[in-house]
Symmetry: C2
Subunit: 409 residues, 2 copies
Amino acid sequence: MPNSTSPALLSVATALARILASLQPTAVQRLPLADALGYFLADDIKAKLTLPPHDVSSMDGFAVRAQDVAACPASLTRVGESAAGHPWPGRLGPQQAVRIFTGAYVPDGADCIVIQENVAAASEADGSQITVLKAGSRGRYIRPAGLDITAGDIALAKGSYLSARRIALAIAAGETSALVCTPPRIGILSTGDELVPPGTPPGPGQIISSNAAFLTAFVKNCGAHPIDLGIAIDAPGAVHTAVSAAHDLDMVVTTGGASVGTHDHIVSDLAHGKLDFWKIAMRPGKPLIWGEIGGIPLLGLPGNPVSTAVCALVFLQPAIAALCGGQHTHAMFRAAIATDMPENDQRQDYIRATIETTEAQLAVRPATKQDSSMMGVLATADALIVRPPFDPPLTAGDLVDILPLPRLF
Amino acid sequence: MPNSTSPALLSVATALARILASLQPTAVQRLPLADALGYFLADDIKAKLTLPPHDVSSMDGFAVRAQDVAACPASLTRVGESAAGHPWPGRLGPQQAVRIFTGAYVPDGADCIVIQENVAAASEADGSQITVLKAGSRGRYIRPAGLDITAGDIALAKGSYLSARRIALAIAAGETSALVCTPPRIGILSTGDELVPPGTPPGPGQIISSNAAFLTAFVKNCGAHPIDLGIAIDAPGAVHTAVSAAHDLDMVVTTGGASVGTHDHIVSDLAHGKLDFWKIAMRPGKPLIWGEIGGIPLLGLPGNPVSTAVCALVFLQPAIAALCGGQHTHAMFRAAIATDMPENDQRQDYIRATIETTEAQLAVRPATKQDSSMMGVLATADALIVRPPFDPPLTAGDLVDILPLPRLF
């Protein structure tokens, strides 16, 4: 039978490394930072400003000289006020205090903030006397200039993913725009004579194509542009024809047709390009294809929806990051499994699971059914349990690696 | 001094519960599923179709009667082919086999799939003899009709967050649109005389406003519409004036001015509305305000950027989900800390940390500096270590709760 000649199964790590090694970043463009959410930086962002720009107070209180409050109670004369945006312009002398608020510049001559809870003050008028009740020390409650960042430092390195907090940092450091990688254009092609488009009632033997809807949303979430290449029939050359009709693709992702059944033609269509590998030691997702068609990198995902989704997470998201000049590594954690599990075979297993959190512990429970066609199970999963090849039998309570499913996945 | 009259500190859980209890979902709208990524469902989606619609094969091989292959080798006559999208229309009789491919309908009369690796077949022609080398059992490699979902079942429940995999499920189940909650309109108002807008060179005592940029991106990530209300000066009534000028807001989020210093006016401005609470047992984020101004819920975040960001994660994201008729709970995990940590005080602590993964374990290392002004530390953090009030001293290797920072945060 056809697959008696199948090559040895590649490990997931090797397959991913080969995919990433063959991808080059796309072109770059400059965007206002306000429009750059979800992009990857194509160049370092250096701070134009020092933050904070001056020693500032981290509390409401009084700016004083530490030596004047070494012994308490100490009586000082209030000589002014420093508020955020309104620095006190003078220089603090002996036995003087300046009323100060959070974020305000520490006046020259002051080296300590006494918090207001430790001060008895008769009034908020300058010239009044205050009594410091508790000694302060040098530098206390002062954020020194440059605590956060210094002008000229790299605020965000090339390749950084521009999330909300990083955009805020770049703006605070005086930047307004960013050089980013142009979102790669990812062609999405479903294959299968059984598929009808969403909105078409399926006839006998037909089902609605849903992998393209998944991949369209997924590719957007990864920061790339999905390009709909439609549905290719199960016939030799159909994939090549569909890809040839599209323009300026940075990668093609197909679903289905990835086995070597009589009706699976993607591997043979790669005679029009090149086949790097197919078949990996992974479940779901064994028939994964990596190659090139018409000069365009092609990732062939298996057609079962759970296989499509898991392989997209494991391979497509890092691949898109590489096309953007960045990196994506899924955060992995460890949790106790809620049930026993049998020994694993030679394939790395990605097991749909829910997380059960109690006061005492966090447990992860594999779904009872792991069939790769079951979209309902995937839709309600919280995480994938990742089991390496030949993992020995596990007992409830053993720790396993888990990959929490991203919110938009 | 002013805050000697401060109320007792609320716990984070109580504060969040009071915020969520006071919010009502916004209006609803119907959207094509292709446009509904990141929305919350305002109604159940019931499956219109059964998936799979018929018993289908999960492998490439031959559909047979299990009783005919109970003893092997067994010789059968190939009578046809069933491929995905091309069901075989007949009924399988004794000693007959139908060539079958993954996803294809199992012919009537067949109750077992023999995988092609276990068959010796002379040709792919109908009428030819095949030899089954290894016995199969009833139901083997058959996905029964309805394994995934049955028409009429709830595919996605009201309140579900529409991620990529859930949109795909709804489409596969025959749906094309979804009733979703209209994205709430969230007014974002920065306060502080020290702030200048991005693009303006700061003068003495001034800094660039960056919290609004953070919140704009964050609010988008949460599925809501940010509305820029600009920067309010530190003067009584300024917040009320700015909010009154905006239209159709579902919530206002302010940053800064949340203490009770002479220059902090948000609490007093809530005389124009109502003050539910301010000050919570949290670090960063103690001066958090929840109230109402001009009939609009107001969340007052502290002005330090890390406090703003952490409080947005802890309170604003769940609040937006509640306005959308959904729920958001941050996934929490456990990991070993990489260093000793001292006893915690009465405030729940959200400690910026990086994750260090080795083959043997996953450790979480608190950043050396935890000052709530330090955007650079936040920008490179992987997770927050969440320590409950009065947590005892910890030793390196002890397990702590961690909140991994979302990718777009």
